[in-house]
Symmetry: D2
Subunit: 289 residues, 4 copies
């Protein structure tokens, strides 16, 4: 584990950079200050980069548009890999017909729609259509009535032996500098414990997320795992998952992990990043060009 | 483990009977058919009986009134021991002043009020009063907005290092013959996992629940544990807790555990009741008196 | 939570003191230096005291003898309450006949022997006697071959639907200033997960342990919970259990919890002692008598 | 979920077949009777097949030799993919120098040796070399003294912040028709809970295992996930992992899952195979050629 002052020196060592989104590129308050310079430098150096995110609330297209509005045009749709995309791949491969019920917003559901499948919110499941429901997807913590629809989801899974897919493994996410919000991954785990069935989870630290990104990289270049570095703010997802997949990893201190307790948490969890850096911001100094 | 045809033969062997409520005396559809004869027989034989329940949604007085309305006057307030009463004892002993925030109905909160403590729903916690909140109590799954108030409870526990008390350990409860409902114990476990703190739980199978009942019995008689039998429909709470406390136990098949899978579940869990009986109904036959 | 300089001021506020043993009265290196003065003061003030310990490896008689050899005659057999004693009570009440198999030393097993029961080490279970085995007890991490006998315990529980009792809930214990040792509670949890059955655990933080001590106190005096304080070095067992039972609690920093991270761990776990004190040693100054 | 009488009809639908080893091809008693015909048919039909196994106790070469001795020459070294191979890849990518300590046999350790790394059993870790230990690997339940070396592994992880790798996720494995044996995955989970750190696990149901096999398939053919079927006897590993990776799956009833409770367990776990078949044996009848 090495402390690095300038994120530039990390980019210089790899061919491809995977970034977590929240806590690395943006926070609840907007873009991480100065992060534009990182993407300028990546493009100048002709290095590849991807956003690898557990955000299944919107499509890559919508996520990219949000970055553009924040002033970061460098993050295009084709560079965003989300756990929602794995969910969509699962439905394409494993659910041939019938209804897919979901918990989340219409936006999140629109994205996972596959040919041959009909998507409805859990609130619209009823005695007439329940026998056609062939999967339940946990997409987002918004867009439904928690009390009514979480109970409905429990009873749907008690009556139907169908796969339950969790498109975001996070249990909570930061809302403001002080507060967090319960994420769909936390609600899903509660329901999993109540019904006693085994859910399928997509998202970091699970390897399938990294493999999805790695496959995309290999589709147009010949880099190996040694040439890729994963950058994240969370030991349990970004760093653990990156390490396990065989990538070098960078813990940045601009999000979930604060400088004051990074060392304590690394020792406590045994999850060791290759590098620690204050942020993913490249400091080009005044005379670099 | 013995199979018993008539619950009467069980009563005949003990001085005191502890009953679980739901699935033993009543179900979602009302009283278990014929259960009145059990309490007639208990009174005739001058045996003591208590209801030992994880229901913290109402006071013993209100629970007793509900039994009276159903046609069971034998269950009086002083014979009901609930996990809510343990919660009230905890507050009396351990929280001296300030505010107790709760998730549940006004009814459930009214009951736990102690002298010197001010009780408010989690929805009323704000920046002005949060520093006076000295405990958070999980009482009931009704009476609050799940999305707004569960998130508020998470952030209260992140800002304040205070005890969190779960007054009902059940994770779900039966709503109709087919459906269940998520219980406050399930919601509390989700929040416990998110905040990473250790909650205090009252209710079966925890020994404190049985001790509370046993203390009451001993306050006016000299029976020992060998003279008491615990009757319940749930292996994980009634039977496990009763066994651990040193009581003989009866599994009845009128609730959570169906006759068709009682043996399978006993073998799978290793939780073995002293007796199995179809129900807690005493069959006095036509000529017993 | 108040910081207290001299443990004497705590004794002055209560009628009865419950002490954890390891980390409070003794460590791997012998008695906590100066702890004799605490028991001198307790006796001088005619206050009651008990040792409430998760140690099931020896009988109270043997534990008392060990204290006497260390130079602490004040700790007599009748003042020691161990999780082993709860195990013995369980066997007395719930297992009528047959064989009790155990993992532990002969010493630990000798103590739990009950009339009517035959006690054998797991290594002596065989095809001829397995059908008579009516309970399995996890007593101590010493006295058996881990590889052979842990595997034998797994297969015993797969063939026989019998209660499995864990007489010590700790998962590890301190061996030297640097090293710990896996405790029988940790081995038992591994086996519980493999066989999928529900074990019965005796020991702090479980309430039954505190109730056992409280019953003894009440058998010869009329003190209430408000008059008792629990002293321990471990948040998860001594303090959590004492708090839940309704007792005031003292965290001492002479054992598992170090001064440097006491505050961090209290905030992280939400387990708050009534008092924090460097040790349980009473400082009588030079002129107290 | 479809019941299939003859495994032949499954082979006819796919280009590539992944087989679990234990419970599918062999049991504790030797080869599954008639399984040779399956591999004859696969070769005749020019279909590809791989063994995807959580067995890290030996190298693929040694595993292949064992099949040859049993009379199954069709299973060659290059067709075996084990969780041990993922462990080796991890060491190659992530541990540059120093000592790798292991629990297991010399055989298992020999296989994971990488250039630049020195491999020693945990029993040989001492005060002189502990600072050079850069990883701990859980390989096999045999080859070490459980009591001495599991305790040593605990204290190694308390002193050194290093990755702990579990090369076999299984918690137990069948030993005879009646008995099971605790596997290294079960021992590792116990230690993970005691030290409170996060271990890295390789093996089904984890996706990285399936990806490893899929990458190998794609290296010399252009098949997609739709063309591959995973065959296994265990819902929690083979079927859950195969489903999540997007493969069709076959549950065979020749191992862990018995015909009498297959339906119950599928409903209870919610893990649904694409097909159920008595065994993976191809029945070619008398006149198929």
């Amino acid at each position: 584990m090495k402390r690095v002052d300038n994120f530039k020196s990390i980019i210089d060592q790899y061919e491809v950079v995977f970034f977590d989104a929240f806590g690395v590129i943006k926070t609840y308050a907007g873009l991480v200050r100065g992060i534009e310079s990182t993407f300028d430098y990546l493009q100048q150096q002709k290095k590849e980069y991807y956003i690898v995110t557990n955000d299944a609330s919107r499509s890559p297209e919508q996520l990219a548009t949000a970055y553009h509005k924040l002033g970061l045009p460098a993050i295009t749709q084709d560079r965003i890999l989300s756990s929602g995309m794995l969910t969509k791949e699962y439905l394409d491969l494993k659910v041939d017909d019938g209804i897919v019920a979901y918990l989340g917003t219409e936006n999140s559901a629109h994205y996972i729609e596959s040919s041959g499948l009909h998507t409805i919110p859990v609130s619209e499941v009823n005695d007439d259509n329940i026998d056609k429901v062939n999967a339940l997807i946990f997409l987002d913590d918004e867009g439904f009535d928690w009390s009514a629809d979480l109970n409905k989801a429990v009873n749907l899974l008690r009556r139907r032996t169908i796969p339950a897919i969790v498109a975001n493994t996070d249990h909570a996410y930061p809302l403001t500098i002080k507060d967090v919000s319960i994420a769909i991954g936390g609600l899903a785990t509660m329901i999993e414990n109540i019904v006693g069935k085994k859910f399928i989870r997509f998202g970091k630290p699970d390897s399938q997320m990294f493999m999805f990104a790695y496959d995309l990289v290999r589709s147009h270049s010949s880099v190996g795992k040694k040439d890729i570095v994963m950058v994240g703010d969370t030991l349990n997802t970004d760093i653990l998952g990156g390490n396990k997949f065989g990538l070098d990893t960078v813990l940045v201190l601009s999000g979930n992990t604060r400088a004051s307790d990074a060392d304590t948490r690394i020792t406590a969890t045994g999850i060791v990043p290759t590098f620690i850096c204050d942020s993913a911001v490249v400091d080009l100094g005044g005379f670099n060009f």
